[in-house]
């Protein structure tokens, strides 16, 4: 194999892929746009509350104590006031977390709340002897009729408050258990409530109503028990908890979320993206060379092995440049938010080793598939297993990150081709595995990558000049045996 030719092939592959408008746009402009969109999305999410629900809520208050408080709590003014309080609290938290930018988001959120319509609920009390079933039937009938002109006339919910909701009492006698419980003293307990809603009421209104019912019941209980509600509230409030990390330099706000979750996932996803991008391009350029019949011209100058090696290296450079771009951006971001010490230089070393191995395994599969088929459409069926394999890391990232040293995590670290993705999450976690385990896993990957390359080279050599009937997996295996 001539290294010069391999390098020429790799260079062309890189230039033809990475120095195109499409690639530069996809690799740089799209992520930049996405980064710019995140604050925008936050603003939109804050302002785009669902349309305020309007309707009538019937309350059958068997306890006789809850209705007044509930009705007041569901008035528009009360709802609006509560929402604004929440928005202010979010704004304060956001300011703590994100600094100036967060403040903007929160301010926007608060403004939005001011403007947004709050649910307009007409709360009506049912007489104690009302027939609940008849009211439910009324709601059912309404579903079939067109909505009334005045939307607040629409029956959207029925609340039935239990007799024992605020005063303890014996539970209602079940019909058949007279024998069993004859000896047992019936224990007194509190009851609750039932709520019936019209379908497709937005969950914001449902929550508002349910919270109000619960709040009213609770308040009434405090009152009847003779406890000071303000005192209780005071007792249960802890204030804003402050968590800090002690580092060598001093203290800083808690970053355990970053280390335990974000860094491992980001590292894994980056490797996966770079691997699949390089692999995908490798597949398309191989198919292009085959379908444009340029391949035999190339084979007059280079051997199939040189061609495949060059192509794989070229696309590896493509994936590598993606990683370099994204990593430098991330490291720059980490430094500017003074999280630089979270990134261990050794992690970067592992990161690139694992990328190369993950890529080597996927690239050999892609090269084999690309050389075997006549066009991209035929590649789809052979690609399915590869795509499934690439999804496995997503299924396992939660259990692996939760316990990076569990049996599952350890075992998965030794099963190529998933292992690079699992291992990177483990080494990036706050509880990394021992170094010998990482290097052993890397050793296993090297063997697997070598084996896959070997098989791919055989398929590649045979497949390149095979035109006609699209091969299936069995044919590929036959080629591996044959060559």
């Amino acid at each position: 194999m001539s290294p010069g030719k391999v390098i020429h092939v790799a260079k062309r592959e890189f230039v033809a892929t990475a120095l195109t408008k499409g690639f530069i746009f996809g690799a740089l402009v799209v992520p930049a746009l996405m980064a710019a969109l995140i604050p925008l999305v936050a603003v939109l999410a804050a302002s785009a509350t669902p349309p305020a629900e309007k309707g009538t809520v019937l309350v059958l208050d068997r306890s006789g104590e809850v209705f007044d408080m509930l009705s007041e709590r569901l008035s528009r003014e009360a709802i609006r006031e509560r929402r604004q309080a929440t928005a202010r609290r979010i704004a304060e938290n956001a300011q703590d977390v994100f600094g100036g930018l967060g403040g903007n988001i929160a301010g926007t959120a608060e403004d939005a709340v001011d403007r947004v319509e709050v649910p307009e609920l007409r709360v009506e009390r049912l007489p104690d002897d009302a027939d609940l079933e008849a009211e439910k039937q009324r709601m059912r009938d309404e579903l079939r009729q067109p909505a009334p002109e005045d939307r607040t006339r629409r029956l959207i919910g029925i609340i039935e408050v239990d007799e024992r909701a605020v005063v303890k009492g014996p539970p209602p006698e079940p019909a058949d258990d007279a024998e069993d419980d004859a000896d047992a003293e019936p224990t007194e307990s509190f009851g609750g409530y039932s709520a019936f809603f019209r379908p497709k009421i937005n969950d914001e209104a449902v929550n508002e109503i349910e919270n109000a019912v619960e709040w009213s019941i609770r308040e009434k209980r405090y009152e009847l028990a003779g406890v000071d509600r303000d005192y209780i509230r005071e007792l249960s409030s802890i204030g804003s908890a402050e968590t800090k990390e002690i580092t060598e330099e001093g203290e800083r706000s808690d970053s355990s979320g970053l280390t335990t979750f974000i860094i491992p996932v980001v590292a894994m996803v980056l490797i996966l993206i770079a691997t699949l991008t390089g692999g995908q391009y490798l597949l398309t350029t191989t198919i292009e060379e085959k379908s444009s019949r340029v391949v035999e011209v190339l084979l007059s100058a280079v051997s199939p092995m040189e061609l495949m090696t060059g192509k794989i290296l070229g696309q590896m450079a493509v994936g590598m440049s993606l990683l370099l771009i994204y990593n430098s951006l991330l490291i720059f971001a980490a430094i500017s938010f003074s999280y630089a010490d979270l990134i261990d230089p050794m992690l970067l070393v592992y990161f690139f080793i694992l990328f190369i191995l993950a890529y080597a395994m996927f690239a050999s599969m892609m090269a084999a598939i690309g050389s075997a088929v006549n066009d991209l459409r035929e590649a789809q069926s052979l690609m399915t297993p590869v795509m499934l394999i690439s999804m496995v890391p997503y299924f396992f990232f939660m259990p692996v990150i939760r316990s990076p040293n569990s049996t599952l995590s350890t075992v998965m670290s030794f099963i190529p081709p998933f292992s690079p993705f699992i291992v990177i999450m483990r080494v990036a976690s706050n509880d990394p595995p021992p170094a010998w385990q990482v290097w052993l896993a890397i050793g296993v990957m090297v063997l697997a990558a070598w084996g896959l390359m070997w098989a791919a080279a055989k398929v590649f050599r045979v497949g390149l000049l095979m035109f006609g009937k699209p091969p299936n997996l069995a044919t590929l295996i036959k080629w591996i045996r044959m060559a």
């Binding site: 033809a16 444009s292 019949r293 340029v294 011209v297």
Partner: protein, 322 residues
């Protein structure tokens, strides 16, 4: 090439070919479609590997070791659609071990020579098929190879470009390079080659200099045409010098009897009937091919069928040539 054999599944593509191509020769591989020409060439190029038999190319055991000294234009050829013409040629050249400013200049010179000087900056996909073919031809000879192998170099070219490529091939030959080219249009081989290798059903049926082939197949047929559209075939058929009369492509052909001097036969024929035309027919490669392939006892109908088959494959190019 010694006893080279290649099969695809049950089909035998090349069956025991022995072949020597002396350096500096211009050799034409001819034979109908599917005869095994491309398979043979691909084996010479080590793109396919023979099931049995041995090959040696430029003194090495296989072409792999001397790829940089060989220029190959495959039958299945193409270009990178999105690549610029100049960049494509430079890439091909660098794969053959060329480099630097020389390479750029050589590529540009060649583009000028084939009247493509202005397409350097164009993408390959913007070129017509014929232009792409010229670019590929340049890619094949750019590195001044000792051995040039061209598989169907003329297919798809118009007469002007066909002549251009033919002149370039001749020029390479005159520069002392060995050229092997294949074609299924026998006329092209006749016009260009010193030496003909004819392949049929995976076997070599002729391997001789063109002069030797001609002299071996001395003309034994006289074509004739009656004056004013008369049919003189009965009169001619009755002559003792003539074995039989047949029609090929609407022309009468008198086959000379054994040992008869053609001059004497022509004289007798003109005496026998008023003739518009009497002509000694020099056998074309096509005729020779049909002679060899078809048993001498085979009926005229089978010959006509084979001739039609040969022509069908070559129709386009032959039409363009004439």
């Amino acid at each position: 090439m010694r006893h080279v054999r290649k099969t695809f599944g049950k089909k035998v593509a090349v069956e025991g070919i022995d072949l020597d191509v002396p350096s500096g020769e211009l050799v034409g591989f001819i034979g109908p479609n599917g005869a095994g020409k491309s398979t043979t060439i691909r084996m010479i190029m080590s793109i396919l590997f023979p099931d049995s038999g041995t090959l040696s190319v430029l003194g090495k055991k296989s072409a792999v070791e001397s790829k940089d000294r060989i220029g190959y234009l495959p039958e299945e050829r193409g270009v990178y659609k999105k690549m610029k013409v100049g960049a494509f040629l430079k890439y091909m050249g660098s794969l053959k071990g060329l480099g630097g400013a020389d390479l750029t200049r050589t590529a540009d010179d060649w583009l000028e020579r084939v009247q493509l000087g202005d397409v350097r900056k164009k993408k390959c996909e913007e070129l017509s098929k014929g232009m792409q073919q010229k670019v590929q031809f340049i890619g094949c000879v750019l590195h001044e190879p000792d051995l040039i192998i061209l598989d169907e170099p003329f297919s798809g070219l118009d007469p002007v470009n066909m002549r251009l490529i033919r002149d370039l091939i001749r020029e390479q030959h005159d520069a002392g390079r060995t050229v092997i080219f294949s074609t299924h249009v026998m006329v092209q081989a006749e016009q260009l080659c010193d030496h003909i290798v004819m392949i049929h059903n995976g076997r070599k049926v002729i391997d001789d200099p063109i002069g030797a082939i001609r002299s071996r197949h001395a003309p034994r047929v006289v074509r004739f045409e009656g004056l004013n559209g008369a049919d003189p075939s009965a009169a001619v058929g009755g002559l003792p010098e003539i074995e039989r009369v047949s029609t090929t492509d609407g022309q009468f052909e008198a086959h000379l009897a054994d040992g008869v001097d053609p001059g004497r036969a022509i004289a007798s024929m003109t005496a026998a009937a008023p003739m518009a035309r009497v002509e000694l027919h020099r056998p074309s490669l096509e005729d020779i091919f049909i002679d060899i392939v078809q048993d001498s006892t085979a009926d005229a109908e089978a010959r006509a069928r084979l001739r039609a088959k040969l022509r069908a494959g070559a129709a386009a190019e032959e039409g363009a040539e004439s």
